[in-house]
Symmetry: C2
Subunit: 349 residues, 2 copies
């Protein structure tokens, strides 16, 4: 059943992605209810309602689910236990399985490989000994990542061949981790895919991403990748979404290497590297997600403009913008190093 005017979407997480989902929902005549433990959540200001409680508060979650006509999330690090409290009362989209896989690097890579899609060589790791064994197999750098809870480069340690540092030992002894072979890539690219209730999959054009210290700096469309890689990405996206019986928008990141595409990770949610769609397409990724989870028809993903999306990280938003620039402020009060304060979409020829 499709949501109708005035129905309410529950959103777990109240950051800038929730904020942009709320705007899309509002445009379509839908109400929103945001749940986030952080009282400074930027999405609270524009949500129809909000609940500021821990993700473990069963009573608050039950009330949240009963008030919502559908529940979604802006962030993959939502505890599965939270979802399990909600499920008896309200449908969650994307589904639990997608979230479970998307929040755990080990499950994610196993799932991806099982679909016949390439990932970096990796291994679960919990001791220095295991790390040494893995490093023997590869001549290149390795990268240790926490199995869960990582984002924006948090929880990652790079190790040079044969040089296991203290940071590496510390992280593997204290947290569940995996180690991956570091990819010497030509470029990084991502694709934003969407799947509606009818099972139809639509993808946006791929974007070329530049990261620094694990944080996305900018995304450029068109990505200028060869057409066959663009098609391969779309087919991979279709495979993943269909296999998960996924409803909503997903961001999928790739390394483009001399051996072809290597899938880095996917996020079962709207994605920073899809912010260009806000000014590049009739229906942007946020509205697409809302249309999908609401049972509405998906919108066109055709791109009408060439765009460079640049994140504003850890600095003030100024009025010093050009005619061909569209700026998005997340309205965050406190500026912190590495904190995403907004982004700018710049049109180029």
């Amino acid at each position: 059943m499709a949501l109708k005017q005035g129905d309410k979407i529950g959103i777990l997480g109240g950051g800038q992605l929730a904020q942009l989902l709320i705007k899309a929902a509002n445009k379509l005549g839908l109400k929103t209810l945001v749940f986030d433990p952080n009282e400074d959540s930027p999405a609270f200001n524009i949500a129809t309602e909000f609940i500021c409680e821990p993700f473990s508060n069963q009573k608050a979650l039950e009330s949240f689910s009963k008030k919502s006509d559908i529940v979604t999330y802006e962030f993959e690090n939502i505890p599965l236990a939270t979802i399990d409290i909600i499920t008896p009362h309200c449908k969650v989209s994307p589904n639990r399985e997608a979230l479970k896989i998307g929040q755990n690097r080990l499950l994610e890579k196993a799932f991806i490989n099982q679909l016949g899609i390439n990932t970096a060589r990796y291994s679960q790791i919990s001791s220095k000994k295991e790390l040494l064994e893995f490093c023997k197999l590869t001549a290149s750098k390795s990268i240790i990542k926490t199995t869960t809870s990582g984002y924006d480069g948090k929880g990652q340690v790079v190790i040079e061949p044969g040089k296991i540092n203290t940071a590496a030992i510390e992280i593997i002894e204290n947290t569940e981790c995996i180690v991956e072979e570091f990819q010497e890539f030509h470029s990084e690219a991502s694709i934003i895919a969407s799947r509606g209730e009818s099972g139809s999959v639509l993808t946006y054009d791929s974007g070329a991403n530049l990261h620094k210290d694990g944080i996305l700096i900018n995304t450029t469309v068109p990505s200028k990748l060869p057409k066959e890689l663009e098609i391969e990405m779309a087919l991979i996206a279709g495979k993943i979404l269909n296999n998960l019986d996924y409803i909503g928008v997903m961001g999928i990141e790739f390394f483009v290497t001399s051996q072809g595409l290597i899938l880095n990770e996917f996020a079962p949610r709207v994605h920073n590297s899809g912010h260009w769609t806000l000014d590049g397409c009739l229906i942007n990724q946020f509205e697409q997600h809302i249309r999908a989870i609401s049972g509405w028809p998906l919108g066109s993903t055709n791109r009408h403009s060439n765009i460079v999306m640049t994140n504003i990280i850890g600095e003030k938003i100024t009025t010093d913008i050009k005619e061909n620039q569209s700026i998005y402020s997340y309205g965050k009060k406190e500026i912190r190093a590495g904190r995403k304060m907004g982004h700018i979409n710049t049109i180029h020829e």
Copy 2:
């Protein structure tokens, strides 16, 4: 001085135009405070704050002005006395003169003619005798309009040649009116113009409008008008905005006749016939207005898509939309005949 992050824009009027202005302000990191006497104002739900008081409440208006860093309006029928209460405390953009002229058909036509721009032949009228005299001068139909407070065809009576009806007599004897020669037009067109603090004027492409009973049904871009008429409209817009030292967005409506362009009216605000810009340009008319009144640089008005904007009038908003359609719900609770509930932008080749 340009507004900075977190500064507050006061908006007089809380309808759908205010709603769309609020979304633009929010995107730019600006807060909003809406003032409207109607407790069901659709903009109240998403404004940072709102005040629900009559436009004559001096105390409430003073508080409103002191809290605002700039004041604007979504509707030209704001009493000038309201502006006069605000002015000592806060700047109002567009300025009082533009509002004064824009809300009075007599002043408007005199101003337009004095700039050498064509309007329909018209006369102020307050008796049956004056009406008869005017009708003698023209072989075509005439149209009586209230001098002030008209919108969406409200306060208008058409009279056939030589047939003065009761409705006509009633309106001229009870309200200040003007009578105009009815224009036999090929088409109706409008242009959305903007002027920033630097004095630069930017116009969007003209749209072809279809009205029914005085209410806009749809707008099509491109309008397919000859290029010389498109340029003439832009030049007329520049003349008006510069002459008024106007800051903000203005909608200007024309009749396209065999004698050339006839200016019908202008609205000193964002305009229904500019809703296509929401999906046709990088910077839409609402954000352009906010950028202008906030002292930010204007944005590009280049059009990237062909669009038909269709109003949803007096009916329910359904999920029955196509891939190439972007829908805007104003979230109004009550559906009434002639009430604008939302609009749809449809992309076409």
